[in-house]
Amino acid sequence: MPTEQDSRMEFGSEPMVLNMGPSHPATHGTVRFLLKLDGEKIVHLETEIGYLHRGFEKHCENGTWTQAFPYTDRLNYNSAMQNNVAYAMSVEKLLGIEDKIPERTKYIRTIICELARMCDHYTNLAAAGLELGALTAFLYLVEGREKLWDIIEEICGARLTSNYVRIGGLASDLPENFEEKLIATFEENKVFYDEFDQLLTHNRIFIDRMRNVGNITAEDAISFGFTGPCLRAAGVEYDVRKANPYLAYAEMDFDVPVGSTGDNYDIYLIRMEECLQSERIIRQCLKKMKAGPINIDDPKIRQRSKEDISNEMESMIFHFKNQISGIQVPAGEAYVATEGSNGEVGFYLVSDGGGKPWKCRVRPACIPLTAAMGYRCQGLMLADIIPTFDMINLIGGECDR
């Protein structure tokens, strides 16, 4: 790559400073790039984040353990269920009740995590198409995502802000005829997915924009702390679901796609494949799942049903105690790693023995990916920022917290 001095001599011009964002029509996510351009070539790219900072940790520290759930929804809002699950698992680890979580809950949590992954990948892939000019492809996959969101709406009543998981269980069981509806949706989505695949995967224009753009070596990716599809695209086989299986992943049969160059096209292919693998996992869960309780049988932790609260004196007392003082979590600290759609989502929680978290830290998967933007874009053309930024799938809510 030529240095600044070289290129100035070549073109006889000064570098131009260009401000891109924070609200740019060709990027999704609120982030600002401060560019130094030599013609159309990027000499230096500085990324500025924080436009969506809401004080996630401060809010969590000032509410009860249960009250943090709605905030976790708003981290990565494309796959809110995964954040719910990751947070619940961390609190359960602190409480030491991991072994007491009912079997059915584990399967349901696996299903919703994978559903969320599909939604996230669908959104990301569709948006990537859109921002490179493929509006038709966008419409197909977003239609598929809408259908998945309809399923999520049936599960928990909301499309994005799910708030479905509870400490020690779930807010409610799956709706009636869930399996048939989900399988029917998969069949419908297959059409959209295949159309999208045919429109983009072998499309010359699309490949030209994606292939060999934003390459990163495995060594650099690890140094930056990449996880998820972006790390696997660089050829590192690391998936928390395989490395440290949680929920029901240990008994699931699925493949983890791995790339080689770390460029945008590899990330694209990995995300495409992961959608299929998620569907595979969900189908296995549906087969293995049996009827049973969904909440832990401990009155000090368990979320009471509305019916019980209205009809049983004891339930009402426990409900009142759990809501006002919060679930009492013994002092200690715990970190739980889960595989989010964009990489490792981990919650590091510290309890001082009370009803509120003393510290509630989330390891956002897209911070390292965003931090590496300047490094990956150096020497590329201005237009290459768009596919590179697309494929890291920055979610402002998670990045800025």
């Binding site: 924080g50 690890i222 590496a372």
Partner: protein, 160 residues
Amino acid sequence: MANIIQIVKDRFGDLVLDSHSQHGDDTVIVNKNSILEIMQWLRDNEATNFNFLMDLTAVDYLGKGKDMRFEVVYHLYSLENNIRLRVKAGVTEEDATINSLAPLWKGADWYEREVYDLYGILFIGHPNMKRILLYEGFEGHPLRKDYPIDKRQPLIGPDN
């Protein structure tokens, strides 16, 4: 493989102030002055090989009766050995500084800026020690326990 805490203790002796494996998370608490040396060894040594700096954050223990008000918390992961280790280093309020890990991991850059932004802990040797989530001109560090949750500040535009 052998107990990771024992391996670190054998190598660094007194620099490891404390350790525990609460909930199965291996944790060592080390002297902050040696953090760079310890982390480099943990990363490069074959027995440990912690090539991932997964997470870096801090905790404020104001009013909890600890000698050191802050703790900087590192989460390491080794891909080859598939093990995790939490390293913690206490930092006092008067001398809220610690060596930066930016020379070891590229990813440390933003994490450390975030800890500086929200806790006011300075990382010595960091190439670009400035706020990341909040804006230049913001007063105080909001994740400190003595920063009121309902405090409001005027939003000042960026300098550049």
